[in-house]
């Protein structure tokens, strides 16, 4: 996206949705010109199409992710069955929203992604790829802490939620 004259980043689209829903009425943070952010919004629309093409046209609709045997053993020790598809549907489905673990993962996790990305000033695309490639201190530090957060969640919070 830097090639085509705009700052690349996905997470500011979350602010764009807020802006479209009228969030500027409650906070000046959402007062901006959506037109300037059009490239990022079109990009996100494209990713939806790309995801659909990859799964429904470029493969037979089912994907199996061949992760390492140790990872399979680890997740099954937590009671999470390894399955085909890009993600474990036993954890991520609409019915699971009614369970505490489902709420923590989907609503809690989703909230933290949105809040954290905007607080840190970017997400994996903006900081970890665009920012680090430009050797920016803020991006290097943010990425280190993205990773620390991920390690804490994987090694401590998952085992806590899904007690083996």
């Amino acid at each position: 996206m830097m090639f085509i004259g705009s700052a690349f980043g996905v997470s500011n689209n979350l602010e764009n949705i807020c802006c479209m829903l009228g969030a500027e009425k409650v906070s000046d943070h959402f007062k901006f010109d959506l037109k300037e952010r059009l490239p990022n919004m079109l990009f996100i629309a494209g990713t939806l199409i790309g995801g659909a093409i990859a799964v429904f046209l470029l493969s037979d609709g089912s994907l199996t992710v061949e992760i390492s045997e140790n990872t399979k053993a680890h997740i099954s020790s937590l009671g999470i069955p390894y399955s085909e598809g890009l993600l474990p549907l036993t954890l991520f489905n609409w019915n699971a929203l009614g369970s505490i673990s489902g709420l923590l993962l989907m609503v809690g996790g989703g909230f933290m992604v949105g809040f954290g990305a905007r607080y840190a000033g970017g997400c994996t695309s903006g900081h970890s790829i665009s920012g680090i490639s430009n050797l920016q201190a803020s991006s290097i530090i943010s990425t280190i802490f993205f990773f620390i957060g991920g390690l804490i969640a994987t090694h401590f919070i998952y085992p806590l939620i899904f007690q083996p």
Binding site: V10, A45, T47, L48, T71, F111, A117, Q136
Partner: protein, 137 residues
């Protein structure tokens, strides 16, 4: 018509992210368990390609479509925000198994369960907008 290139870039991104399995919860778990080089390879190559691009853009002062000299956006160092925000983002990244881009790619790939996740992320971004002035930056 001018917008088509952005959509096209998104389409390519979506396909690459699915085909490389970078949108997979399983791959994110594996990465944080240090069980495979897979995700590190993907992130490493993305940074390498972007790094060379940034260098070329700066070195040869490339212009964008409207004739402006391109310049990568500077994200100012804000230690408390980068650290606390980064930690919170990282926790959410591992819990959902997706960062913002993959959430949308997975939705396109047919996982409708991304809708409540994206809605929660939007709510998170909204909450930040409200609380911004009270948070250390």
């Amino acid at each position: 018509m001018n917008g088509l290139k952005y959509i096209f870039a998104g389409v390519v991104f979506g396909i690459v992210m699915v085909k490389s399995e970078a949108v997979s919860w399983f791959r994110i778990q594996e990465m944080f368990l240090f069980e495979s080089f897979h995700m590190y390879g993907i992130i490493g190559s993305a940074v390498a390609v972007a790094g060379v691009s940034v260098w070329l853009i700066k070195r040869f002062k490339w212009k964008d479509a409207s004739g402006m000299i391109m310049k990568p956006i500077e994200r100012p160092l804000m230690l408390p925000a980068n650290i606390i925000g980064g930690l919170i983002f990282g926790l959410g990244w591992a819990l959902t198994g997706a960062c913002p881009g993959p959430m949308f790619v997975n939705l396109g790939a047919g996982y409708s369960v991304m809708i409540p996740i994206i809605a929660s992320a939007t709510l998170g971004a909204f909450a930040y907008g409200i609380l911004k002035k009270k948070l250390p930056h």
